[in-house]
Subunit: 297 residues, 2 copies
């Protein structure tokens, strides 16, 4: 199964097919796909949460240390947990290790949706403004100018992200577009320091926090061993989601996500090396837009 | 004394004048200027280090908390430490508090120097390449296009930073250019996780670490109470210095500085609000350069 196909299976659940979910589960035996939006209501059903629901803390504390097995894909630990057969010698073990070792880098381009109509009464009415559409064109042009072959264009299922992705996708014809509910905007974790003009209720953090953490775990990890070439993936989503993902990916305190801000249509570029090292290449790059087109709404 | 003049006094020590140092010390009674490069050798003499030399740890651990008095400029604490006279009533105290309260925001544009000749035998020979000069032009054009009035252009005294600053300064005529030894490139703190191809000796961290921390403390803090208007300052320096400063400013673990990378000539924008909150507006923005001009050397 191709990488694109696998992502589509794990994400594109517009029809809510249980058969598709099962296929994805088989193809990604190390990844537990979340059963989302089976109701078609747009509200995710968080089955992924079950894998960590027993933990008292969702996210490990940031201490300045680096957990090299942060994505649970470090080869020696995988082998260990799978209890290698007693008959296999050391040489065999080494070759098995090679089978589990990532070989390629993953480049993730996190794009914040462009400007939208904030007066809309519901998500459907919160469509892109004229400037927002122009911003998305500029983002698409910049992405294609980088001269890499993109593997997939994933986007949050919210209107403003979907519309931004539609415009970007015209610049990369042939690249599959996949909608995902996990990436919808929300309240990832109580920000430290808090701010006075944005006070979500506890239930919002409770639900969104687990969902956005699930998005992080699904999309941000080193390459699977079978991936042979470096990949370039675009994820169009939201400011809070991107900032939380950046903190988690760099193993910085996730409570600090609100210490960063992002322009509409900006590019945040994460690279994940085969050894699990993560590098932030740019945060909120929007230098490709003329200053009079910059917004943060 | 104007803000520009004060910065020049604290930094522009080409002549190594002790009189200038003394004047700066008087004008900035809450800021201890480091006596640097008195020998003219380019090696900083770290007097600033004395203020924290008694501490066992140079940098507080990052925990996900926010120290609101991180820059030792929070008004109530200043007043407390100055022991307000017993005769002053509550009203008087409030008005005193106002005197100490920052009113303006500081915008700091951290620019990484552009590409340089890495084959040079010493700093003097490590001049900008032709592409590096072109990159600096692009950075200057972008900075001026933002339409703000810059207050000062500070740069590391290393050749590649000085040359980058010279080119940028042509786009903002009239803005004072100030050289500073604290901002020179170095090894700020042992990176976690470590990397194999860059292993400075312990003595380098020992010396550079204190110096780069001193640079952070000098330049990154909320506005002084007397500053009435928002300020826009450009600091041209080096990748390690900028990454360390970003970690410290956001109160993220400073050991994580190597989890970010920066293109040559890129713009990293920090905003410090009057209440001490810090926001990273962009990290390593280089979208204003055509992709074929991007380098990270």
């Amino acid at each position: 199964m191709s990488y694109r196909k696998a992502v589509q299976l794990a994400c594109g659940l517009a029809g809510g097919s249980v058969a598709l979910l099962a296929a994805a589960a088989v193809s990604h035996s190390r990844r537990k796909p979340a059963g989302e939006d089976r109701s078609g209501s747009g509200i995710p059903v968080l089955q992924a949460a079950q894998s960590w629901a027993g933990n008292t803390t969702l996210v490990p504390p940031a201490t300045g240390q680096w957990d090299s097995n942060w994505d649970k894909r470090e080869p020696p630990l995988i082998i260990n947990s799978r209890k290698v057969d007693q008959e296999t010698g050391e040489e065999n073990l080494t070759s098995q290790l090679e089978n589990y070792k990532a070989k390629a880098s993953r480049h993730i381009f996190l794009i914040r949706h462009s400007q939208y109509n904030q007066n809309g009464q519901n998500d459907k009415e919160r469509t892109l403004t004229a400037l927002g559409r122009e911003q998305a064109e500029l983002t698409g042009q910049r992405l294609v100018s980088l001269g890499v072959n993109y593997d997939v264009l994933i986007h949050s299922s919210m209107t403003r992200a979907r519309e931004t992705a539609e415009i970007i996708s015209r610049y990369i014809p042939g690249v599959e577009k996949v909608s995902c509910d996990l990436l919808r905007e929300g309240a990832p974790i109580q920000p430290v320091p808090p701010i006075s003009h944005w006070k979500p209720e506890a239930v919002q953090y409770h639900e969104d926090g687990a969902r956005i953490e699930a998005a992080f775990r699904r999309y941000i990890h080193r390459a699977e061993a079978k991936q042979e070439k470096d990949s370039y993936e675009i994820i169009v989503c939201h400011a809070n989601v991107i900032r939380y993902i950046v903190c988690r990916a760099l193993q910085f305190p996730p409570e600090g996500w609100l210490r960063m801000c992002l322009n509409n249509g900006s590019i945040t570029w994460l690279t994940i090396r085969p050894n699990g090292r993560v590098s932030l290449r740019t945060l909120g790059d929007s230098g490709f837009m003329p200053p009079d087109k910059l917004t943060r709404s």
